[in-house]
Symmetry: C2
Subunit: 208 residues, 2 copies
């Protein structure tokens, strides 16, 4: 009897997904408790990143052990590194009526949909191809080869937009935030969630 919802958010690189999530969690105007799932990864920690905040940084050996123990809701190998979502962590959030966002790609989304029947998936697209290029280049953190690799990855990701429940076009970040909040709010009005809140009332109405 949880009132927490599981959300998947996917987008090609350079769509502004990270900023969107950051703003959603920072300016929590919604009355719901929302958390971003922290992934496990085997990739090297970048400067400024904090273990347990940005990722749980673990060894390949430990990651593979977790795979064998079936501890992941989803995992993937991207650019030679593993990334995964802990089943236990997600279930703990949901049990405590917390909405959880999974910031994962289409392959992860597919794995989650197979394991969780109640999941709301959202895809973000850039407003134009030029804007996508621009956003990928201004990040400036990465080498040109990485950028090109990301561009290719982006296109592969976009092919899967139709597998998602919702589609947001990130033209203006504040409009996109508005859309995202709207989706979260609507998910809380779904009959299964509302029943968990109002089950006493409903039972009374049916008994009378």
């Amino acid at each position: 009897m949880t009132t927490g919802n599981l959300f998947i958010i996917s987008a090609p690189s350079g769509t502004g997904k990270s900023l969107l999530l950051q703003l959603l969690l920072k300016n929590n105007i919604l009355k719901f408790n929302i958390k971003l799932s922290i992934s496990y990864t085997t990739r090297m920690k970048r400067i400024g990143e904090i273990n347990g905040k940005d990722y749980y940084f673990i060894s390949k050996k430990k990651f593979k052990k977790m795979i064998i123990n079936n501890e992941f809701l989803e995992y993937a190998k991207v650019f030679g590194n593993y990334y995964g979502t802990s089943k236990k962590n997600i279930d703990n959030f949901l049990k405590n009526n917390i909405d959880v966002f999974l910031n994962i790609d289409w392959q992860g989304a597919m794995q989650v949909r197979k394991k969780k029947t109640q999941v709301c998936s959202i895809f973000i697209l850039p407003p134009s191809i030029n804007e996508l290029h621009r956003r990928l280049y201004i990040r400036g953190k990465d080498h040109i080869d990485i950028i090109n690799q990301r561009m290719l990855q982006s296109k592969k990701e976009i092919y899967h937009f139709h597998e998602y429940d919702y589609l947001i076009i990130n033209n203006h970040i504040h409009d996109a935030i508005f859309d995202l909040k709207n989706i979260i709010y609507a998910e809380h009005l779904k009959t299964k969630i509302q029943f968990n809140i109002y089950n006493k009332l409903i039972k009374k109405l049916l008994k009378e």
Copy 2:
């Protein structure tokens, strides 16, 4: 390639559904074009009712002919009278990118779901059993037998809340309107609808 959505709204008598719909259509703050479907009925016109506005009032003979010609998206016999929704009327609205609300009961909803794959159904409940009683009595339009019959009908209707996508508790009418608008807005963010709006952008992003 429509951007119009089909909505079903059901509620037990005395839940305030009619006022809710009235306010939704009157104060159209949403940017979408929303219409309420006008049903065909064989029941007598009440004082103040207008043909083509409140209902299309037709004879039983004509109604039965429409049934035989498969012209109804749904129809039902309630308290000895027929009520039905014209397929053609609904399809015309949707073709013109207009959202249509069907104000029907659970039996009608069931028929529509079988014929239309893309339909969003919303159930409204009163905040308490006392409030339901109060609302049924203050209407004052009807004889006590009719009220009791409606009360029984209400309970039968409530049994079917779980068949609906969304559940709104009509405690305060303005909160219920807010919830309803939120659902309508979110439906327009569904991938299938968004694709119909942004298909050029998506095709461009995929081609690049």
